[in-house]
């Protein structure tokens, strides 16, 4: 989880105009040692309610699949801070440019170049919503592969119903071919889509460690392989 923070911090820190001071100004009302919520800014209070109030508003001691605890998973990296905008707006142009640069720097390409894997495995991974869920019904990664949750937001082969939060990807390889440029574009979009769409709602499946190299190759095969039902 923390490995993604290094390149981001350098790229965005200088532009992070919306960021607030890390420490909470916790005022004491004087009565029964309670903190005064009204003395904090909304950002300070939100952080206090997550991490401090009555030991934290979340089950912060739970261990996470990627290592570390829930407390660490709730901490924001630079991109998450920069893209957390009230009313879902976008940051200023400078910040957006810094996000794109940092996203580009975060992308690691496979040795020997981008390869297409097994579209059959990729089809099941694209469908699966399993992985990295915690709390009351913890996803045990030792019993199932982590899926890509792709169908949550995208339509692929139409024998299964996908969402429409993201664009339709039906016939993706058939209409676009398999040039190096389009393979790189798809790889980048899966790995860290902020390189093209800063502050997109799509997860960084590569940079975050959500999907490994083989799973990305298999999902890309599902998108590009002529035999895949996506390209029927």
């Amino acid at each position: 989880m923390f490995k993604k923070k290094t390149p981001m911090a350098a790229g965005i820190a200088a532009f992070a105009t919306i960021l607030f001071a890390g420490g909470c100004a916790v005022a004491d009302t004087g009565k029964s040692g309670q903190v005064d919520y009204t003395a904090m800014t909304p950002h300070e209070l939100a952080e206090y309610l997550i991490f401090e109030a009555n030991g934290g508003g979340f089950n912060l001691s739970q261990e996470m699949q990627e290592g570390g605890t829930a407390r660490e998973r709730m901490q924001q990296d630079e991109l998450q801070k920069a893209c957390s905008i009230i009313d879902d707006g976008k940051p200023d142009a400078e910040t957006m440019a810094a996000i794109r640069t940092a996203a580009q720097e975060s992308i690691v390409y496979p040795e020997g170049g981008i390869q297409l894997g097994d579209w059959k495995r990729g089809r099941e991974l694209a469908w699966s919503g399993f992985g990295y869920r915690v709390g009351h019904n913890y996803d045990d990664h030792s019993v199932r592969d982590v899926g890509g949750t792709c169908y949550n937001c995208h339509q692929f082969a139409t024998d299964r119903t996908g969402g429409n939060v993201g664009p339709v990807l039906t016939g993706y390889g058939k209409t676009r071919g398999t040039s190096d440029a389009i393979l790189k574009y798809a790889y980048d979009m899966i790995y860290n889509p902020h390189v093209y769409f800063p502050c997109t709602h799509m997860p960084r499946f590569g940079s975050s460690g959500f999907l490994d190299e083989q799973s990305i190759a298999d999902i890309m095969a599902y998108m590009f392989d002529p035999e895949s039902p996506v390209n029927e």
Partner: protein
């Protein structure tokens, strides 16, 4: 239409205590559907047809009995409890929650206020099953929440923001709603910032559209897929689960801040209580 025939015998009207409700929940929803073009509101024709026989209505009837029965070590009924409008006054109380309560010095949502009533007024221990069991149609909590919430059916959401703590919690909730974190970088807007979007087969409510949002936050609701009546706190927990963020603790101030903000987003829109959801 077929619905009209079913409307002639809504179970809601069998509940004496809801006699103030001029419209059945399905009529409140139909009014919203007639006022706006929304894929979210219209996505389940079956639920619309089933609402007059919503299983939550029966859970609410159980809650009515429970509410008015003397219980706990102190052997008093919940009529002694103040839900914001004076002891035992429930009409319109839920659409004005979360709110600040003088006796605890805190902003509380319905669930935490019920906990307060059970422990401080009725005398239950905090680890008593009546207090601890928050989920499921058979739980005291869901029976009581459903009954209390039904006394606000058709009324407009209007959680007070006059007290500085109410305003502070609402504003912190606004930050939480937009706060991206975790393995997927999601915030609430990832699913609730646009109209007509769906995740898999589910059409999602847009937080910026009041007519969508009042149905989204109209809990308790019978969730057909769970075959149980669910609460606001249960919905919050489920959202954080899907966002790959840690489990939010029931009744935490973080959860109440978020619910304060999401109620504010529906201000002025009529509540559908109880609702029925997929």
């Amino acid at each position: 239409m077929f619905r009209k025939a079913l409307l002639a015998l809504p179970v809601a009207l069998a509940l004496g205590a809801t006699a103030h409700a001029e419209k059945a929940p399905e009529e409140v929803l139909q009014g919203l559907i007639d006022s706006i073009d929304s894929r979210y509101l219209t996505q389940s024709e079956m639920n619309l047809m089933m609402m007059p026989d919503n299983p939550a209505l029966w859970v609410g009837m159980d809650g009515e009995d429970l509410f008015h029965t003397a219980r706990g070590p102190n052997n008093v009924s919940m009529e002694a409890c103040d839900f914001g409008k004076g002891p035992g006054v429930l009409e319109g109380a839920y659409v004005e929650m979360p709110r600040y309560f003088e006796d605890t010095g805190k902003v509380m949502d319905l669930e935490t206020r019920i906990v307060h009533c059970m422990t401080d007024v009725q005398g239950f221990a905090s680890d008593d099953p009546a207090v601890r069991q928050r989920h499921g149609s058979g739980s005291d909590h869901m029976k009581l929440q459903t009954y209390i919430a039904m006394q606000s059916n058709g009324m407009e959401w209007n959680n007070p923001l006059d007290h500085p703590l109410e305003k502070a919690m609402r504003d912190a909730g606004e930050v939480l709603f937009a706060r991206r974190a975790g393995m997927s970088d999601f915030n609430c807007f990832a699913c609730h910032g646009q109209s007509g979007k769906q995740v898999r087969a589910s059409v999602l409510p847009n937080a910026k559209i009041g007519e969508d949002w009042t149905k989204a936050i109209s809990w308790p609701a019978h969730r057909v897929g769970h075959d149980n009546v669910r609460s606001s706190q249960h919905r919050v927990r489920g959202c954080y689960y899907q966002m790959r963020q840690p489990g939010m603790l029931a009744g935490s101030d973080a959860s109440i801040a978020l619910i304060s903000y999401w109620t504010d987003l529906a201000r002025g829109q009529p509540a559908i209580l109880p609702d029925m959801k997929r």
